[in-house]
Each structure stands twice: as C-alpha cells, then as structure tokens.
C-alpha cells in the first residue's frame, strides 16, 4: 500500500461535503508524476477517492464508472451515495482472498441533499462517519489534523479551508505523499474545485 503513496480526506459541512487528495505518483522513493488523479466524480453529486496501488486506482475507477452507468440505465435514475458505497464494498469483498490494494473514500449529497461520507478498508468494510474520513499513507497524520481542525456545521468556504489545511499539513510529514493537492467542495447548487499550492518535496 506504500508503493505509490496517497493521501485522501473527506469531511462533512453544513449542507455540503468536501473531498481532497494529493497528486503524487511515486515508485517508492522516486516521484514519477505530480499530476496523478485519485478522486473521481461518479455522479453529479458523488465523488470517490481511491488511495493505494495506482494500477488498482485506474482499474477500479473504470469498473465503478461502468457499474454506475449500468445502474442508471436499469433504474432510470442516478445512484445514491449510500447505495454506491455498498456497490464498492461488494466489489472489494468479491476479491476477499486476493484483494485490490485500495482504501476508498466516498463523499456526496443524496437525493435530499443530505451530506454523506464513508471510507472502507481494502476488503470492503464500510466506516460510516458523521464528521470526517481519511485514507492513504499519511492516514495517521490526517487523523491528527482532522481531529484538530474539524467542527460541525462548517460553511462551504470554511470547509474548504479545513480540508485543505488538513491535507497540506498531513502530507508534509509523509515522505511518499504530497507534491500538490486538489479539493472538491460539493454543494446542492454546484461543485467548487480548487488546486492546492503546497510543498513540492
């Protein structure tokens, strides 16, 4: 899980959620790219972040994109974040004895615009959290930062600051994550995406 490096965090705010990730792709200590995407939109209001082995990040993104499209065709509606979380969990548990080396983080708004976040381990055990979830090589650092910076009912702009600072300061103490960051804040009206300017070491 430490081969490529990753740091992902999601937080709940007042009628909004935010999800952030670093942008490094490494081969152990060597940095190969500073522009690697780890957070993907699954629907207009649901994002998934995938921390772990980069090849599995690409594969699972591809698999989930197909499953979400097929769901939309069969049910003639967009999949809810909680339902999508169960789809992810089932996909991971299918490979119980030869797993994908991935820790997913999901953030979104349901049909009633209620915030939803959750994370999972590599075999699909879901952690439904009310405050924040973290994943990746800097997860312990992220826990410490999030625990300190999060408070309930943050407005979108405040949530952006909390998530951004949580990510930036956590990855600065981890040798295999960082090299840039990206934050998505999901509100009922729109999604605000911003790049983070951080240390490139």
């Amino acid at each position: 899980m430490e081969y490529n490096g990753a740091a992902i965090v999601a937080m709940v705010g007042k009628n909004c959620v935010a999800i952030a990730a670093d942008k490094r792709l490494g081969a152990q200590a060597m940095t190969v790219s500073t522009n690697f995407q780890k957070v993907f939109p699954m629907t207009d209001k649901t994002y998934i972040g995938l921390a772990g082995l980069a090849t599995d990040v690409s594969t699972l993104h591809s698999k989930f994109r197909r499953k979400v499209t097929e769901y939309a065709m069969e049910e003639n509606r967009t999949i809810e974040p909680k339902t999508f979380a169960h789809v992810v969990s089932a996909t991971l548990y299918e490979k119980r004895f030869g797993p994908y080396f991935i820790e997913p983080v999901i953030a979104g708004l349901d049909a009633n615009n209620e915030p939803f976040i959750c994370s999972m381990d590599l075999i699909g055990c879901i952690n439904f959290a009310k405050d924040f979830v973290v994943a990746g090589t800097a997860s312990q650092n992220l826990y410490g930062m999030a625990e300190s910076l999060w408070e309930p009912n943050l407005e979108p702009e405040e949530l952006f600051e909390a998530v951004g600072q949580t990510l930036l300061n956590a990855v600065d103490r981890n040798a295999v994550s960082g090299w840039g960051g990206i934050v998505h804040v999901i509100t009922p009206e729109r999604i605000i995406t911003r790049e983070l300017k951080g240390r490139m070491d």
Partner: protein, 216 residues
C-alpha cells in the same frame, strides 16, 4: 541483511560538496525519515568536525552521528598534540580518519559521508566516502538517495574554476532538483561556505527553492 534496523532513523538525503578557488561549498537537504514518516523536517546534516572541516551525512542517522563524534574527538586530540599555528589538521587527515572508521566497520555501518574543508596547504578539498568505505578525492561530490536523480544534471553543469557564487547556484539548483524527485529528501537547503576566513552558514527555506518543470 537489512541495512537499517526496523524503526531506525534514516537520513534519506541529498548531499553535495563543491570545491572552488578559495574554499568549498557544502550543501544538504533537511529531511530525516523513519519509514515514510518524516521525523525531522529541519535536520542539520552538515556537521563540524573541526574549525574549517565539515562532513555531510547520509544513511543511518545514528551511525553517522557516532562516526562524526569520534572523528571530532580525534581531530581535537590531533590539534592539541600538534600545537601551534600551521599544524591544524588538514582535510585529507580528517577524510582518512572517516575512511578508516567506515572501512573497518563496513559490515555494521550504513553511512555515506562527504568530507569537505579548507586548509592552508591545499585550499579547499572534497572527499567522497561511499558505503563500502573507499576514499575518493573529487572536484565535486554528490551523495545520498537523492543524488541518483542529479548525476546527469551535475555532470552537464559543472565546470572547473567556477567562482564562489557560481558554486552556490550550482549546489542550490542540484539539491532542489534532487529534493523534488526523491521522497526521502526535502525540507530546506542548508549550505555552508568554508574559506580561510571561516564558515558562513546559509539556509534556503522551502518556499524560496528554485522550481523547475512540474508535470501538468
């Protein structure tokens, strides 16, 4: 056989020393890691072993600190025994003491050291002592895990007879490139300029580092 023990602090590192007419420039990053955790982000890897002789440390933090302390002791004894001016230990003497320790204990140690200093017989000189304990006098030396990314850059940019300021730019740019690519290197760049007039220490914080092409 594992080079570092589990949980042992590692000076992942990018270190460098360049000789110029009048002295030497030495430089290092400031990151110490324990696995992927950055234990110290403002480490000082440029260690004094005598008034005008410094070493750059890479590898095991414990091993290199212990070796540097022993060499510092030996050089203090040398200076006391050869008392009077003109009998300060030369950089060559210091480098050979480092080499003896690193070679004799090669099986137990994980230490890559660059020794650099000024003495009145030769002026500035740089000695590279890689893992096995061999000794190499060079015009410039690079070491540590980050050095692998800058061999090409250094070979193409280095010229004999550079001025002090050109050497500083060369060192700064090379270390910045190494810190950008190597996960085990980062933080700030620490520089020291050693001449007959003494040692001038400089620090370049992370936001003032030269930045190069980044993948878009």
């Amino acid at each position: 056989m594992q080079a570092l023990k589990s949980g042992e602090q590692n000076l992942g590192t990018s270190i460098m020393a360049v000789q110029f007419d009048g002295g030497v420039i030495i430089g290092a990053d400031s990151r110490t890691t324990s696995g992927a955790y950055i234990g110290n982000r403002v480490t000082d890897k440029l260690t004094k072993v005598h008034d005008r002789i410094y070493c750059c440390r890479s590898g095991s933090a414990a091993d290199t600190q212990a070796i540097a302390d022993i060499v510092h002791y030996y050089l203090q004894s040398y200076a006391a025994e050869h008392n009077g001016t003109g009998t300060e230990p030369t950089t060559r003497v210091a480098a050979n003491i480092f080499k003896d320790l690193c070679y004799t204990n090669k099986d137990a140690l994980s230490a890559g050291i660059i020794v650099a200093g000024w003495d009145k017989h030769t002026g500035g000189s740089v000695y590279n002592i890689p893992l096995g304990g061999s000794l190499h006098k060079q015009s410039f030396a690079i070491g540590g895990s980050g050095s692998t990314y800058i061999y090409g850059y250094c070979d193409s940019e280095f010229k004999e007879g550079m001025s002090k300021d050109e050497c500083i730019e060369f060192t700064k740019n090379a270390l910045a490139l190494a810190m950008s690519r190597d996960g085990s290197s980062g933080g700030v760049i620490r520089l020291a300029i050693i001449t007959k007039d003494g040692v001038e220490r400089l620090i370049i914080p992370g936001d003032n580092l030269p930045r190069f092409y980044e993948t878009q």
